[in-house]
Symmetry: C2
Subunit: 215 residues, 2 copies
């Protein structure tokens, strides 16, 4: 399986490309500029340079011939709100549309912990725009007939992954290492039971493979 990782140069993306390259599968890292390429070249991964602010057609070209797309690009809640619209909302939706154009059925979206409508209302006011952007991107994906999985990670940390999580439709808010989220993504890619599902993930006591079985 060949997997286009959109946002490969992010911290989750880097772990994910490594996991993919260590497996029987291949990653294609979508990055914004040539300077980001060396990490991926060292892992033997293909790279493709496309800025998410470009067109659906440009993204679709990058997605040609892959079997799955992972969207893990993210301006995060603390960047300028222009990027919240142009990356988290528009970049995500263009990638979903590009998947359709390139006939890539499998799509994994890395969302925020809670993107339900009530979460926009209840978020602290500086966080609301980010939650709204992620909400609409998730809604857009779920309204397609793509084979989607929406992953809602808890508060991301740079701790080393433990390989153990708590994953379910709703879990108690908590932290989770980015490396474990990358592993959750990888294990979702190779587990078709996660298709059509969305779930929250925080650190826990269950191995990632086991946790995904009960989703």
């Amino acid at each position: 399986m060949k997997i286009l990782v959109v946002g490969a140069n992010g911290q989750i993306g880097k772990h994910l490309v490594r996991f993919i390259q260590e497996s029987e599968h291949e990653a294609k890292a979508m990055i914004r500029n040539q300077e980001q390429a060396s990490y991926f070249k060292e892992l033997g991964a293909e790279t493709v340079i496309v800025d998410l602010e470009r067109s659906i057609e440009d993204i679709a070209k990058a997605a040609e011939g892959v079997d799955a797309i992972v969207f893990t690009a993210g301006s995060g809640p603390h960047t300028g709100k222009d990027k919240t619209i142009l990356v988290d909302l528009d970049g995500a939706i263009k990638t979903i549309e590009a998947a359709k154009v390139a006939s890539v059925k499998r799509f994994i979206m890395i969302s925020s912990f809670d993107t339900r409508r009530e979460a926009i209302l209840n978020a602290p006011s500086s966080f609301k725009p980010y939650v709204a952007a992620k909400h609409y991107a998730d809604e857009w994906l779920k309204s397609t007939d793509l084979d989607y999985t929406v992953i809602h990670p808890g508060a991301l940390t740079n701790e080393k992954g433990t390989g153990k999580v708590n994953a379910a439709t709703e879990v108690e808010r908590g932290e989770v290492p980015r490396e474990d989220i990358a592993s959750v993504i990888f294990n979702s890619l190779v587990n078709n039971a996660t298709i059509g599902k969305e779930f929250q993930v925080v650190s826990g006591n269950t191995s990632i493979k086991e946790a995904l079985k009960s989703i």
Copy 2:
């Protein structure tokens, strides 16, 4: 006909409520706070206080019993991008969802001149987030089974209205007084031939009533 005007306290909204009150119809002005009420009370219009950052249910309650909703709220392209997400995108979509909840079929959206996908790409970079927000709000509305009209005005001015416009699916970019846009909205409300249509409007040589006949 009773018409909920969302964003009544904006300049287009104020003209529109006046036109409605001067006709056989009635306006219900949705405003953000009590201080904005006096203008509408003088016109004999009902007011309802709901901030667009509140829930769908709150907006739906304001829409109960009306026959049509006009969304003319807008942070505009020059406010903070947080408001672009929370008003132009989320406020608009919540109002659309509120129309469904309140079983109000007729919905008129005041959009921006060009909100097609290419327009996001081609807009100057400070304008892109606004175009993207309006794009998704328009797309959301057009995907519903509401009786929608999407009006795309040219560059808005505070000149006195002339009553004459150029309106079509695509017209050459140009200016148009806010008062004329209010009149286009009013005339669309009473002309069911505008249902399911979207069109651009700038100043021109055709009376508004005539212009809407050929949409």
